[in-house]
């Protein structure tokens, strides 16, 4: 009888947790509410997925959407450009001098129906030299380029981008570009005079075959304008642009097959009558090449994301908050807190045990709900013809587990607020105003993007960043705002902000509980 060890003694952690778990499990309303919260996440997610149909022609007949190419890293990509190329066997290099880069941009129509085209370059219009595995869209590549407003860049495999010297090109200040291939390694060099060369960067394209395509390219991403939707949210419109670059002093070293350059309009879209829509073009005279391209070589962020299936999480969060706050305030209302504190005189431990219990229960319920919703929601969306941006399984696991953890940590925050206020209303309202309201205001209101970003940096709602599956790319122009599903903090950094708030609140609650009569 006297062999009871300290860990399971009256104040031991195991006993404490068991006591708190028993309290939670025997209140039917809490168990029901927790189950209902999980069900809401699943049902809202699946029903919104099954109500969402997409087809590609908008007409009465359903058309299959064209397949979106996937890059070497597994991400969706846009791979659309004009390519003047030859086949290179083994090692070699290409050197060119870029003497001009011009283009056209279609701006929003001033008079409806009249095309408003101005000359100019979009910031990420790009032209230069490229080595690509094949002309298949999405295949591995490395390219050295001049851009509209970002100077010389070395890019490879869609997601990688290294900056060279800034500045544009003109007759007076041409840029020399050189790309050499040695096995799997591609190295880019730039020069202003063709004699002094500076290395821009290197790329390793593992598994690059011996025979690759090498040549000149031009591309110009669409011009982006973002307007606010009438129902909240934002509407992005992309309009036609094209870029033309002039190259001379083209020098190809290595074993190239065939005598002539081949022209390919990679990934050009076709109009319904089969003719190319906004085609690129190229011409050559006396060793001077002019290449005009439309499109972009970059990761694509156009499509639905896996986290879109988690529509119900905000609703579930409110349920979790109510249960978590009530689980501590109910003890005050009924006077049970005095019995609890007689049984467990170490007040801090009692509160931590409560937090652990509510956190674990919420995490388990949330994990089941988010795993089911994301797995089946994405399947339903795909079956309905929606395009979902592919992500790695690791990212999916992070979204699922992270969302469950988000709910759990928010529950701990709510519980701590409940213990601080000792009143349900104060606790619930503070928890909702701290976690749900900033997210709703940042993503749906008239607030400008900068203010929305600050809301999602400073408040516990920053934790929602854990749900973002598609990263922001610095070298792709996009509407990276909370309203479009992009959070200002990295996933785990945002989660850390929420966890910090929860830890702070729990600490304050413990101090308050120790100092005040119950």
């Amino acid at each position: 009888m006297t062999t009871t060890v300290n860990r399971s003694g009256p104040g031991g952690p195991a006993r404490l947790l068991r006591a708190e778990w028993t309290k939670f499990r025997t209140v039917r309303a809490w168990v029901v509410a927790m189950t209902a919260g999980s069900l809401v996440i699943v049902l809202l997610g699946l029903s919104s997925a099954s109500g969402s149909h997409a087809s590609c022609d908008g007409g009465p007949t359903e058309a299959v959407c064209p397949a979106v190419p996937v890059g070497p890293g597994g991400e969706a990509v846009e791979d659309k450009f004009y390519f003047v190329h030859r086949t290179l066997a083994g090692d070699g290099s290409i050197t060119v001098r870029a003497t001009s880069m011009t283009g056209q941009i279609r701006k929003p129509d001033v008079t409806p129906g009249v095309r408003n085209v101005v000359s100019g370059l979009v910031p990420w219009a790009k032209a230069g030299v490229m080595v690509k595995q094949s002309t298949r869209q999405g295949s591995a590549y490395a390219a050295l380029m001049v851009t509209g407003a970002h100077g010389v860049r070395m890019q490879h495999d869609f997601t990688h981008d290294v900056a060279g010297r800034p500045g544009g090109v003109s007759e007076d200040s041409p840029r020399w570009l050189r790309l050499t291939r040695s096995g799997d390694t591609l190295t880019g060099y730039e020069s202003t005079d063709g004699t002094d060369w500076a290395e821009v960067g290197t790329a390793r394209l593992s598994g690059l075959p011996a025979r690759v395509e090498i040549g000149l390219f031009a591309a110009s991403p669409g011009d982006l304008t973002v307007t606010r939707g009438d129902l909240g949210g934002s509407v992005s419109a992309v309009r036609f642009t094209e870029a033309t670059a002039v190259f001379d002093r083209v020098d190809l070293e290595g074993e190239t097959s065939g005598g002539a350059w081949r022209n390919d309009d990679i990934g050009v879209t076709e109009a319904p009558d089969g003719s190319p829509h906004h085609p690129g073009r190229a011409s050559e005279s006396g060793g001077t090449f002019s290449v005009t391209g439309v499109g972009d070589i970059a990761p694509s962020i156009e499509g639905q994301t896996v986290e879109r299936t988690l529509t119900g999480v905000l609703t579930g969060l409110i349920v979790v908050i109510v249960v978590a706050v009530t689980s501590v305030t109910a003890e005050y209302r009924r006077g049970l807190i005095r019995t609890t504190l007689i049984a467990v005189p170490r007040r801090g431990r009692m509160l931590v045990a409560k937090a652990l219990t509510i956190g674990t229960v919420t995490f388990a319920a949330g994990l089941v709900a988010t795993a089911i919703t994301l797995t089946f929601g994405t399947r339903i969306l795909r079956a309905n013809g929606n395009y979902i941006l592919p992500v790695s399984w690791l990212t999916e696991v992070r979204v699922v587990v992270g969302t469950a953890a988000l709910l759990a940590v928010a529950a701990v925050l709510a519980l701590a607020l409940g213990a601080l206020f000792r009143r349900s209303v104060g606790g619930v309202i503070t928890a909702i105003v701290l976690t749900v309201v900033p997210h709703v205001l940042a993503t749906t209101s008239v607030l400008p993007d900068t203010a929305a970003r600050w809301l999602l940096r400073l408040t516990p709602a920053a934790g929602f960043a854990i749900q973002q599956s598609i990263p922001e790319y610095a070298h792709v122009l996009g509407h990276y705002a909370p309203i479009a599903g992009f959070y200002p903090l990295a996933p785990w950094a945002g989660f850390a902000v929420l966890a910090g708030y929860a830890a702070l609140a729990l600490g304050l609650a413990v101090v308050r509980l120790r100092r005040r009569d119950a």
Partner: protein, 254 residues
């Protein structure tokens, strides 16, 4: 009726929380409106923003305080058992609810007016400094007057809506969860629904989206409902909640 009013007024007046909540409503509304106005600026090419929505932005935060006040008005009595004393003194249960509604509406209208009257000129002054054209900010102009007075009515309707829900649900934590859930979740769900028709229907029945249409002064043609019709939707929610709450109060033991 006068005695009922007096009794309810005394109860609400002597609660320490009431004054603090009303003060919080004014402070929060003004602070959030001013903060929103400070971060918005207008370029020479034009403004994408509705100035009225910006200078009355604090209403979206202030409504949470109004909901708290309204829920506490009745659920405080349920949790302490005071409701039994109240009903013994005033056996007409529906009239108890009606009296509470009158007092609550009066308090919200008063505090809401102060909040809006302070927010609008302060926000206007900041927006003028941020480059908004003065003609879009004429405070006595028709649309702006409608936005301001509509916002006060909006807050009063939120109070009635919350009172109805709290009467039906009784538990304060659940009531506040339901109210804030219905208010804040619609906009989030609308954003997530890819189908435009479904999103439009959800917008039209959403108490917050439809109700705040009364603040719109630009792009009125793009709204699924006209400003006053939108406020009507919120009025319908409030009526339904009060009716449901009243019926349950009559039908159930307290």
């Amino acid at each position: 009726m006068t005695r009922n009013l007096y009794a309810e007024w005394t109860k609400l007046r002597t609660l320490p929380g009431t004054g603090r909540l009303l003060l919080a409503l004014v402070m929060l509304t003004v602070a959030v409106s001013v903060a929103a106005a400070a971060v918005v600026s207008c370029t020479s090419s034009g403004c994408g923003y509705d100035p009225a929505k910006i200078i009355l932005f604090g209403v979206q935060a202030g409504q949470a305080v109004v909901a708290t006040l309204a829920v506490l008005t009745i659920s405080g009595e349920f949790s302490t058992g005071m409701i039994r004393t109240t009903l013994a003194a005033m056996p007409g249960r529906v009239s108890v609810l009606a009296t509470k509604a009158v007092i609550l509406t009066g308090l919200t209208l008063a505090a809401g007016s102060v909040a809006v009257l302070a927010s609008a000129p302060a926000g206007r002054w900041i927006l003028l400094g941020n480059g908004f054209p003065p003609e879009s900010l004429a405070l006595t102009g028709g649309p702006m007057l409608r936005a301001a007075s509509g916002s006060v009515l909006y807050l009063a309707l939120i109070a009635l809506f919350s009172l109805g829900i709290a009467t039906a649900v009784r538990d304060s934590a659940t009531a506040i969860g339901v109210v804030l859930g219905l208010l804040y979740l619609f906009p989030a769900v609308i954003l997530m629904v890819p189908d435009a028709d479904v999103a439009k229907i959800l917008w039209q029945i959403s108490p917050m989206n439809a109700g705040l249409a009364v603040q719109a002064t630009t792009h009125l043609a793009g709204l699924p409902l006209s400003p006053w019709a939108g406020l009507g939707v919120l009025a319908a929610w409030a009526t339904a909640a009060l009716l449901g709450g009243g019926l349950l109060l009559r039908a159930r033991d307290a």
